[in-house]
């Protein structure tokens, strides 16, 4: 299927565990983004990537790690999950010079 796919859609994990959220896009878009959505905060940028092997921090990067070895994949890892990382996580992509964004369907992560 064409588009941007996030997995899993739902995840429950325990405090202290490592969790990886997956994001895969099929358009070869240059730019990819990770946002978290929390009630009362809207969507806030965690990390972004301009191309393979180029990543940088956003507004709320603490506790997260990203990688982008291939253009189409942009996984987000919580190295040691905390309850404050309970949130809905969105991956998005954008092509070079394109101001249109495409969002994945989100991952609802609960840390207990």
């Amino acid at each position: 299927d064409a588009g941007i796919t996030q997995s899993p859609r739902y995840k429950i994990t325990e405090t202290g565990r490592q969790v990886t959220l997956m994001c895969h896009q099929t358009w070869s878009h240059s730019y990819m983004f990770w946002y978290r959505q929390d009630l009362g905060h809207g969507l806030r940028l965690i990390y972004y990537s301009a191309a393979a092997d180029i990543t940088d921090k956003g507004e709320v990067p603490d506790g997260y790690v990203v990688s982008r070895s291939k253009t189409e994949n942009f996984p987000l890892t919580l190295e040691s999950a905390t309850r404050s990382q309970t949130s809905v996580y969105f991956c998005a992509s954008r092509g070079q010079g394109d101001y249109g964004y495409t969002f994945g369907s989100g991952t609802r992560l609960t840390v207990v």
Binding site: G42, Y48, D56, G58, V88, A92, Y99, S105
Partner: protein, 119 residues
């Protein structure tokens, strides 16, 4: 840094009526893009409408239109003939025209307005 403010956490409208959602933003840039996204209970982020700051004409998409006031840094969304399917969270978002400040053109979101539509 740019900020986006949506001052109405919740709004309600009667079916077939018109409703306006407010959005203001703060920026020192002269060129940028503004967006309205809809998020229904399915969680999917759906682009409703976008506006380029250099265009004076207000964008319209069917029943959705914006009132873009650049000097006032205001970008409100008007929904005409509201339908039950319009019930959702609506987010206003800003994006720099160029890659200012090292950002790669990420979207900056407001906190959202939850719209309810009454039958």
């Amino acid at each position: 840094a740019q900020t986006v403010t949506q001052s109405q956490p919740e709004m309600s409208v009667q079916e077939a009526e018109t409703v306006t959602l407010s959005c203001t933003y703060d920026t020192s840039e002269s060129d940028y893009y503004l967006f309205w996204y809809k998020q229904p209970p399915s969680r999917q982020m759906i682009l409703v409408i976008r506006q380029e700051a250099y265009k004076q004409q207000n964008a319209t998409e069917n029943r959705f239109s914006v009132n873009f006031q650049k000097a006032a840094k205001s970008f409100s969304l008007k929904i005409s003939d509201s339908q039950l399917g319009d019930a959702a969270m609506y987010f206003c978002a800003y994006r720099s025209f160029m890659n200012y400040g090292g950002s790669q053109g990420n979207l900056i979101f407001g906190k959202g307005t939850k719209l309810s539509v009454k039958p």
